[in-house]
Symmetry: C2
Subunit: 337 residues, 2 copies
């Protein structure tokens, strides 16, 4: 059925080794032999069995990307970047979704484990510590930082980023600034909340507790509900910092439904800079992490550990971000209806 190295060898009248040499681009092959092998290669349509090669080499060229949900734009965009970075380095990317369940991830890493993938990039949604202590392969964590686990970690400075976002709201004159997205199970939520608080404190602004709204998930609907809650407060906010762009999109929608004008009546800032946020009405001011840098750094780390077998202490790398200022805070944006 499938044509093997041996088939080619017999057809060319040489040994397997010679064929292997040709296939792998080994330089020192007698011209005559090379010619015959190449002929046989073409004639048979030989294609190496990578599975066998991997078994032999002990590496597969696959890395896994484990994330909560691909449909969340942030993860989709990140995944795209990871894939293209990996492709450029001749790696293939296997994507697994956890959909919030820990078991899923544990199962994934355990079963693909050391033999089918060379390493994994993990973007957890919630804090988790012990279960990925030793999956047997190099791991890079994205976004959340489970402290005191000695593994590579790539993320932006969430506290600083949040602080930057809220500062911007203060600078444009807002005084009653709410936050949407508090969540005890998310490490980044705590950090963003800390940044929010730090900015308010530094400006000497009050921090009424009713302005910090929790969100169980970070989908558009959660943002919509949270905003509805804020707007029915006796004294609603004049600005909202949302812990991601999806929450902000929902918030934007609800604000409009309640007849609030953005940013005139209420300014909104997001986090993540989803592609869609540049096109919403109004376009969304947001924290823009350098996703390409995150992807590149993560793939690089995995490669160095897995393929080049480098040994180095766990890295904790901070990637840059910017504040993308758009209509939802400074706008006069167009109206549609």
């Amino acid at each position: 059925m499938a044509v093997t190295l041996r088939d080619v060898a017999t057809l060319a009248g040489v040994s397997v080794k010679t064929v292997s040499n040709v296939v792998n681009g080994y330089a020192f092959v007698k011209a005559e032999n090379r010619r015959r092998v190449e002929e046989a290669l073409a004639a048979t349509g030989y294609r190496p069995n990578l599975g066998a090669r991997n078994l032999r080499r002990g590496r597969t060229g696959f890395i896994a990307l484990v994330l909560p949900e691909l449909t969340i734009p942030y993860f989709g965009e990140l995944a795209g970047l990871v894939i293209s970075t990996a492709q450029r380095q001749d790696c293939s990317v296997l994507i697994e979704e956890t959909r919030g369940t820990l078991d899923r991830k544990r199962a994934t890493l355990a079963s693909l484990g050391p033999h089918l993938i060379d390493g994994a990039i993990v973007s957890p949604e919630a804090l988790e510590a012990d279960d990925l202590l030793d999956p047997g392969i190099p791991l890079v964590m994205l976004g959340e930082h489970a402290v005191d686990v000695p593994i590579d970690h790539v993320a932006i400075d969430n506290v600083l980023a949040a602080r930057t976002a809220v500062n911007h709201l203060i600078e444009i004159g807002r005084r009653r600034i709410a936050a949407i997205g508090q969540n005890p199970h998310r490490g980044t939520a705590a950090q963003r909340l800390a940044g929010y608080r730090a900015a308010l404190s530094a400006a000497g602004l009050p921090q009424p507790p009713e302005l910090v709204v929790p969100a169980l998930n970070y989908h558009r609907s959660d943002g919509a509900h949270a905003m509805a809650h804020l707007l029915q407060l006796p004294e609603p906010p004049d600005a909202v910092f949302c812990f991601n762009d999806l929450l902000a999109a929902g918030a934007l929608r609800t604000a409009a439904e309640h007849g609030m004008r953005v940013p005139a009546d209420i300014a909104i800032v997001g986090f993540d800079n989803n592609e869609e946020s540049a096109y919403s009405l109004p376009s969304l001011t947001t924290i823009a992490p350098d996703k390409a840098a995150i992807a590149e750094t993560a793939v690089q780390l995995i490669r160095r550990r897995a393929m080049d077998n480098d040994q180095f202490p766990p890295q904790d790398i901070q990637t840059p971000f910017t504040l993308e200022i758009r209509e939802s805070t400074t706008g006069s944006a167009p109206k549609t209806l």
Copy 2:
């Protein structure tokens, strides 16, 4: 380093075969032996080398999903669904992006070829015929139909869907209906255009050629430019049918920037039902393909061909769709600014 079947066997004092039997759930193993093997298994923390197993079995449990770009929401959502469907069937999904280049795809399928993946689901962006005639593994095509290639194909009825969308515009009283997204290289574009034309013809409406606007890519920016073009026409349209939601998002934005009210001055219909389209301002009326059905059907087909080794003639399966009516055609939607 890694513990192998043999290690377990020696530790348990039995043969490799017996351990293999236990691991693979073979029923007839003496209770005593089974106990000892299980102990040894636990003690060593044995985990099968799937690579080796695959080499032997000739199957890997991997399927590839080849698509243009993961950041395009439609593909992101689809990919998410394919992944979860596959996970439920104990398959892993390898995602490769073509980013529009044919070579990429050809390379991907050729190199991963028959040995590392059991089958591939391919979502082409442009028409292509010959190059995937025989990749050596089962293939399922999504969306575009390269005619006279005898391979499985899963898609909605694009002509009917487009016609449905345009009919809706006619029903709400629009008479000067434009189309954005014409593109000679995309099979679906031709079909959607045909549906658009059919609807207009059936209603006895004129079809001024200047109302059919091409789009090189189907990104938001392309929609924005196309809409700008339409709005500066001496006699602008009162409705626009966009060949996907991204084009529609761009069009929406441009309409607003030009002070047009949607749908009062101009109605907009999209195609794909991206998640974000339910939250835009105004929310977008759009054709909603049953993406879950597409994903499920595709994975099913691959599995039957690859894993169960079923033989059956190439299938051409049409999946259902609905028209999701929202504010961009019937609205009074809220305003934000």
